[in-house]
């Protein structure tokens, strides 16, 4: 089974103090560490597991700057066979819809049975590309997938619903599945592993190669644009407990006592 995995390079933001950049439409990226989007990492792992069990190939594909090479190398180290980088300045500012159009154009020339993508990306959080891509390719999709069982021309999946409930679906291939975090335990990628794939070819595509006109992508080809970003307003917020560790522990213990838990 040939599998395409759509991945994205995103900044790590946990426990990082983010600042709005000069344009007011983005964040300052200096000093930030970039990595593969967490959900996409689960998607790569799932693809590699399916390949290991059922055979076939895994192709990792991304839309982004030249720097995206690092997430593709990582995917190759994890077990992907091919890597495709769509890099073209004109794609900058693409929303989820435009990104889906770009991926659809590239994927037309790659054989596949299933396409996996992260359920959402950590940076813009649209959770939109996978299902839009399926629609553009004219194939079925299932989002928020937490389990996959590969069958003959069909895949049984579980989707995460709310409150701990899941639903089981039976989907005909070819199809797009967007992967929810926690579906598997992604393997560790060592520096040695990445070095081993350092010379592997990464296929580069620009708009011309895919037959896309510049006005179909970027902000002109998008339905929505980010007008401004800002730090979320803080409500009343928490009363901060300050002082030495011992003083803080005393204050918290007082709250426990007042609340009747000790």
């Amino acid at each position: 089974m040939d599998i395409i995995v759509c991945i994205k390079r995103v900044p790590e933001v946990a426990e990082i103090d983010l600042q709005v950049d000069q344009t007011g439409k983005g964040i300052k990226t200096e000093g930030l560490v970039f990595c593969v989007n967490d959900w996409d990492n689960y998607a790569i792992e799932e693809a590699v597991r399916i390949k290991e069990k059922h055979g076939g190939t895994v192709t990792a594909i991304t839309v982004g700057s030249e720097e995206s090479e690092d997430v593709l190398r990582r995917a190759l180290a994890l077990g992907a066979d091919e890597a495709v980088m769509i890099t073209d300045q004109k794609t900058e500012g693409s929303d989820a819809y435009a990104t889906a159009k770009i991926l659809a154009a590239a994927i037309k020339n790659i054989p596949y049975t299933i396409i996996l993508a992260g359920a959402l990306a950590d940076d813009d959080g649209y959770a939109q590309v996978g299902a839009s891509l399926a629609e553009l390719l004219g194939i079925p999709h299932a989002t928020l997938v937490t389990n996959m069982e590969i069958g003959e021309k069909r895949v049984k999946v579980r989707r995460e619903l709310e409150g701990g409930l899941e639903e089981a679906l039976d989907v005909e291939t070819p199809a797009v599945f967007t992967i929810q975090s926690g579906i598997n335990e992604p393997r560790y990628v060592s520096i040695m592993g990445i070095r081993r794939v350092a010379k592997k070819e990464i296929k580069k595509l620009d708009l011309g190669a895919m037959g896309l006109a510049p006005d179909q992508v970027g902000t002109t080809g998008s339905f929505i644009v980010v007008e401004r970003i800002f730090t979320p307003p803080v409500g009343e917020g928490a009363q901060l407990l300050q002082g030495s560790p011992d003083e803080v522990a005393t204050k918290v213990t007082d709250i426990f006592q007042k609340g009747g838990v000790i």
């Binding site: 426990e15 079925p140 409930l165 679906l169 975090s181 902000t219 929505i224 560790p245 709250i255 838990v261």
Partner: protein, 327 residues
């Protein structure tokens, strides 16, 4: 007259909370734009559910068919595409839920409708609709614009963003919509619901929850948290990343895809406070948050905050509680 169309969501015979939240926002937007509010209810044997919806809308459209008995994005998409074509709403609201996330992107793409997903606020200025959403795991908010004028826009609405009280009584008409399906959707079949495995601990019943997030760093750090929880007569729960890594079982996960809890005391240790998490715990009587990042959104819902590393705070707290209990 312009129309705002809102998709009603239901599962296993129950209406979802998001419906009234969307209708409440829908009423406000309808009033501001002099539009009519239309609810759409798709399913099989769902007519009785319309009673509580029609009170708040000008129109309630019902379409019933075997193929709509369980949510399936494909027949939903076909019926909604038809209704949108017929009625030409100016705005379509769908929940940013497991259903909405499966449906809205494909529906919008096929119908050529501009879509803004996961919005927590919708404003109207003149005839412009301004959606607000969050980025970077809730660390930034964004005002997004629809880039081009379009006859219809679609917005998916974040759960819990709008109040579900104070809805105005409109008592509009209920209308049955006939739709002829031309396929049986064998390519995407609903099989069954799967309930989460029931384990030993029910976190929804606990008075005290000591909850851990990514900040725990390593499962080896869990015992000290377990100790604090047991000293307080509580149990340990967690946020999504901890359950994803299998450091704690899924049944301990608090949030939209896990459990909704309302303990007397909730201690959030190293939890950033993404909305998916806070939606499941903001009803706790007292919330104490410990996080290294002073800007972590968890401090917006917590009553008390400690900006520090949980690995430093917890041992001191364990010692202090032991001392106090011994005294």
């Amino acid at each position: 007259m312009a129309e705002i169309m809102v998709l009603m969501e239901h599962r296993q015979g129950e209406m979802r909370d998001i419906n009234l939240e969307m209708l409440s926002k829908g009423q406000e937007l309808a009033e501001k734009t002099k539009a009519e509010l239309t609810a759409v209810l798709l399913g099989k044997g769902v007519a009785s559910m319309a009673d509580n919806i029609k009170r708040f809308c000008h129109h309630t459209l019902i379409c019933e068919d075997e193929r709509l008995a369980q949510f399936n994005s494909d027949p939903y998409q076909d019926v909604l595409s038809f209704m949108i074509k017929e009625r030409k709403p100016a705005l379509v609201l769908i929940g940013q839920t497991a259903c909405g996330m499966d449906l809205a992107p494909a529906l919008a793409t096929s119908a050529g409708i501009p879509l803004a997903t996961d919005c927590y606020q919708i404003e109207v200025k003149g005839d412009t609709v301004l959606p607000f959403r969050q980025m970077y795991g809730g660390k930034m908010s964004a005002e997004v614009h629809f880039a081009k004028k379009a006859p219809c826009y679609m917005i998916t609405v974040r759960v819990g963003s709008f109040p579900s009280e104070g809805l105005r009584e409109i008592n509009g008409a209920v209308e049955k919509v006939a739709f002829t399906f031309d396929k049986d959707y064998a390519y995407k079949k609903f099989l069954q619901y799967v309930e989460a495995a029931v384990g030993g601990v029910d976190i929804t019943q606990a008075d005290v929850l000591v909850s851990v997030g990514r900040g725990i760093g390593d499962p080896e750090n869990l015992p000290m948290v377990e100790e604090l929880a047991s000293l307080l007569g509580g149990v340990v729960s967690c946020s999504r990343p901890v359950a994803d890594k299998n450091w704690l079982p899924k049944e301990r996960q608090v949030g939209t895809s896990g459990k909704t809890v309302k303990p007397k005391l909730y201690i959030a240790l190293g939890i950033s406070g993404a909305f998916q998490h806070t939606a499941g715990m903001k009803g706790a009587t007292t919330i104490i948050a410990v996080n290294k990042d002073p800007k972590a959104p968890i401090f917006n819902v917590a009553h008390y905050g400690i900006v520090d590393d949980l690995l430093k705070v917890v041992p001191g707290l364990v010692a202090k509680v032991k001392e106090r209990k011994g005294a």
